[in-house]
């Protein structure tokens, strides 16, 4: 393993394009490359790696780190594809049966994911004592029922962030019945308090394991083919890094990494600290708010593909406006998205000789961009103009939603599809289109730091508040360091404590995040 941080490669695999950059230890951009995302992930990453390595006039041994950001997980959920069928086990009866799993899911996503669900007795109180006894036979019965149909299992128990015993016992039973290979996600490692949101996140996590294997395999293969062996990371939803083994266990944490990377990248490229960032990809746009150089985090539970989870994620408004977004309908009743031609833009868009009208076609028709064959748009001008107007409205509304101040503020436009954006947006002081805007995600990935997080319920048990807080901070710090952060530069970046009301014994939920740059040692 390389001893210190030297050259880093940041790669972003979007729905449409795969971007790669090389930065040196001083964050100077040495190379960049953009290529259409291939259906076969490996060859896309391979091509991008090969291209940037070719641009860098340095021995490839100097590449010490590779950071990959990908929207694969997000797109898999949005488009309901490549998802594993999940057997969903909740341990909590007789509590919780009033709201069964999947209650708040869109029907089509539930149909794509569910391999059956059950609520069995167990779970614990906020104090950690069991609500009712755990019944192993009920878990076994469920496992037998979903054997053969479930490709993965999601297990959630009431108050598992306080005590995870029942989830772990259920996992063992499931392993005996379903075998050692089936991916099993336990909610205790995934989400915070709030059973329904944590269960939702756990189910999505289980459903995404197949996607994660594809991504990790693709990355490893591409690195090997290029003859390099750097330390590899994926970026997660807070813009920090996770190791590949971790990715296979917690793929859901990659959701939201794309927007986090692009916002961090936009901050770096535009040299602004407070701005609206619009990242236009092939499939969708993410509109976020940069505050003090970091994405503003959502203060409310986050919706992923219509499912409410309790991740802390960048506060984003996602709209189905991207370079590959399909345009349909008539000029009087135009339909923009949500479908996209994705990575097939260069085959399917009209300007590239295809037969599907897209927003890229609309941007060329509207004079905002000049690529492909504009003559291919003849006869569709009205429809495309209507589509562009509709897309502009969607962007303006999203921008207004995300702004924290009423006055005009700068907007940084990044992402390969950002050419489709207009030159003026209501409430925006200026639109900054920085150099290298098209690889902002990859740059954001390359400059990412390493974090550790603790979200636990603590019984004070005679200790004072500060003692418990210090304990939590220490644990978060240790986690960041073990993930690769520089021990001397790790900082506590976020502390939140929520006392639980109405309990005689003081109990407090503490959420701490520590982050730091990659260790130089």
């Amino acid at each position: 393993m390389p001893g210190s941080v030297d050259l880093r490669i940041g790669i972003d695999v979007g729905g449409t394009n795969t971007d790669a950059v090389v930065l040196d230890a001083a964050n100077t951009l040495l190379a960049k490359y953009k290529t259409p995302t291939t259906p076969d992930l490996t060859s896309g990453i391979h091509a991008a790696l090969e291209a940037v390595l070719g641009q860098v006039d340095q021995p490839i041994e100097r590449i010490t780190h590779v950071m990959l950001g990908t929207t694969h997980a997000t797109n898999a959920i949005l488009e309901r594809r490549d998802l594993l069928r999940v057997g969903v086990l909740r341990i909590g009866a007789p509590a919780t049966i009033s709201i069964p799993p999947f209650s708040d899911w869109p029907d089509d996503l539930r149909d794509a994911v569910s391999a059956g669900e059950a609520i069995v007795p167990g779970g614990c109180e906020v104090t950690g004592e069991p609500i009712v006894p755990f019944v192993p036979e009920e878990v076994a019965r469920f496992c037998e029922k979903v054997k053969g149909t479930a490709q993965a299992l999601a297990i959630s128990a009431v108050f598992s962030p306080v005590s995870g015993d029942h989830e772990q016992q259920a996992e063992q039973i499931a392993r005996e019945i379903l075998g050692p290979d089936i991916p099993i996600s336990l909610s205790q490692g995934i989400g915070a308090l709030g059973l329904l949101e944590r269960e939702n996140a756990c189910i999505l996590n289980a459903a995404l394991v197949g996607v994660a294997h594809k991504v990790v395999h693709g990355l490893r293969e591409a690195l090997a083919r290029n003859g390099i062996d750097p330390v590899a990371f994926l970026t997660q939803n807070d813009g920090t890094l996770m190791g590949l083994d971790y990715v296979l266990r917690f793929p859901v944490l990659t959701i939201g990494s794309g927007p986090a990377n692009s916002m961090r990248g936009a901050c770096f490229l535009a040299d602004v600290t407070d701005a609206v960032v619009v990242d236009v990809g092939g499939t969708s746009s993410d509109v976020g708010m940069l505050l003090n150089g970091f994405p503003r985090e959502s203060s409310t539970p986050t919706d992923i593909g219509g499912v409410r989870t309790n991740f802390r994620m960048p506060d984003l408004v996602a709209i189905a406006v991207g370079g590959g977004t399909k345009v349909a309908g008539t000029p009087g009743a135009v339909m923009v998205g949500p479908e996209s031609v994705g990575y097939r833009l260069r085959q399917e868009a009209l300007i590239f000789g295809g037969s599907t009208p897209t927003l890229s076609d609309a941007a060329v028709a509207g004079g905002r961009a000049a690529f492909g064959d504009a003559a291919a748009l003849a006869g569709r001008e009205e429809l495309l103009a209507a589509a562009l107007t509709r897309a502009d409205e969607l962007v303006a509304v999203a921008t207004d939603q995300i702004k924290t101040a009423r006055g005009p503020i700068p907007l940084v436009a990044v992402g390969g599809g950002s050419v489709i954006l207009p030159d003026e947006i209501a409430g925006v002081a200026e639109i900054i289109r920085p150099e290298n805007y098209d690889v902002a995600n990859a740059i954001g990935a390359a400059i990412a730091s390493v974090s550790g997080q603790v979200d636990k319920v603590f019984k004070l048990a005679g200790r004072d508040r500060q003692e418990v807080l210090d304990l939590a901070c220490g644990a978060a710090r240790d986690e960041a360091i073990s993930a690769g952060a520089d021990p001397r530069a790790v900082e506590i970046v976020e502390v939140e404590e929520i006392p639980m009301a109405y309990l005689t014994e003081p109990v407090v939920r503490i959420r701490v995040k520590a982050a730091g740059p990659l260790s130089q040692m």
Binding site: S98, L195, Y502
Partner: protein, 363 residues
């Protein structure tokens, strides 16, 4: 005054939950669990009939009900759903006569919507009214207490269908014993309290508050650009400050979430600083050492854009808010009402000044 509804369907329920965040005054918890329970229930049973006391026989037994304890516990330990049935059975066994209807004990937070789920599942109508007209933290802070109507028999049930019935010497003891039981049950439980026949309930009950909360939610949903003006037209909104949350301090003391939030003025209020103090619910809003507003008037942090109410446990740094105040129901403004839920009942040595004497409405 808004027109009364005669049933609650799915959309009414969603509107009701938004109205409950506005009327909660910061307390009562996120209604979401209650909404999901009630949605699931009325999808099976159909809309829940909403009745006025006049629709009932004067001798009909009405049971106010709600969850008591920590909403932060209930987001994990979700009810099993048949709590309404268990409460009903406990009262019918105890009192030897049938329960005719349920009623929300408070019209704020999760407790405005949970009884809808219970009524649907138990097959009972819901009375259009409640005992607080907002949310308050303690069981004696219910209007019947002002008329010496006993909280007992007080029934506490948990998700295991364990039932405890309390016969207490007064309503304060009801609060003490119930809170102790709730703590042992894991921090939240469900309760029936102040059982009354319709005749008795007519005096203390705050009538029409379920409809009122639905109207508030509907108004916000349909308001378009200026939900605050629409809210003012509907229920009278006295905005204290437009700003953003600068600091939140929450701590547990005596079994409650106590603390404060500092809101920094923005827009036309730039340069001002207001501190909200809360014990589950927002109690006072202070500026430069002066009270701008106090309980029992309803002080709610409203989202700057959506005008939805923000519950205490969701206050976070950076949120854009309007501190909105709504008039307390008149019963709380009486001498006895103020002794029960006025500033001094919460330990503040401040006189209550009605919000309308000090502030202007939106319009």
């Amino acid at each position: 005054m808004t027109s009364a509804l005669d049933r609650l369907d799915e959309q009414d329920l969603l509107d009701l939950s938004v109205g409950c965040t506005v009327l909660a005054g910061g307390g009562g918890g996120d209604p979401r669990i209650g909404v999901l329970m009630a949605l699931g229930a009325i999808r099976r049973t159909g809309p829940v009939p909403l009745v006025a006391l006049d629709d009932l026989d004067p001798d009909d037994l009405v049971i106010p009900a709600g969850m008591i304890g920590a909403p932060t516990v209930m987001v994990e330990k979700i009810p099993h759903g048949r709590e309404g049935d268990v409460i009903r059975a406990a009262y019918e066994a105890r009192l030897g006569r049938p329960v005719a209807a349920l009623m929300p004990m408070e019209m704020g937070g999760i407790n405005g919507v949970l009884p809808v789920a219970w009524a649907a599942i138990a097959g009972l109508p819901l009375v259009d009214g409640d005992l607080m007209g907002r949310a308050f933290p303690e069981l004696q802070m219910c209007t019947p207490h002002l008329y010496d109507i006993p909280v007992s028999p007080l029934v506490v049930v948990d998700e295991r269908s364990q039932v405890m019935t309390f016969e207490t010497m007064d309503n304060i003891w009801g609060e003490r014993l119930a809170r102790n039981a709730v703590s042992r049950l894991g921090g939240c439980a469900c309760a029936g309290l102040y059982p009354m026949d319709a005749r008795t309930a007519a005096t203390p009950m705050l009538a029409g508050t379920v409809s009122r909360a639905v109207h508030i939610g509907r108004t916000i949903r349909q308001a378009g650009d200026d939900p605050f003006r629409a809210l003012d037209d509907t229920v009278g909104l006295y905005p204290l400050l437009t700003g953003k949350v600068l600091d939140v301090d929450r701590r547990t003391a005596g079994g409650f979430v106590r603390g404060s939030a500092v809101i920094e003025g923005t827009e036309k209020d730039a340069g001002r600083l207001v501190r909200l103090e809360f014990q589950n619910e927002n109690l006072v809003a202070m500026e430069d050492g002066e009270a701008l507003a106090t309980v029992p008037d309803i002080i709610t942090l409203l989202d700057r854009h959506t005008a939805h109410g923000i519950v205490t446990e969701h206050i976070r740094y950076g949120q854009r808010v309007v501190i909105g105040v709504f008039r307390a129901p008149d019963q709380w403004r009486s001498e006895r009402g103020l002794a029960t839920v006025g500033p001094r009942a919460f330990g503040y040595d401040i006189d209550y000044v009605p919000v309308e004497d000090r502030h202007a409405r939106v319009g």
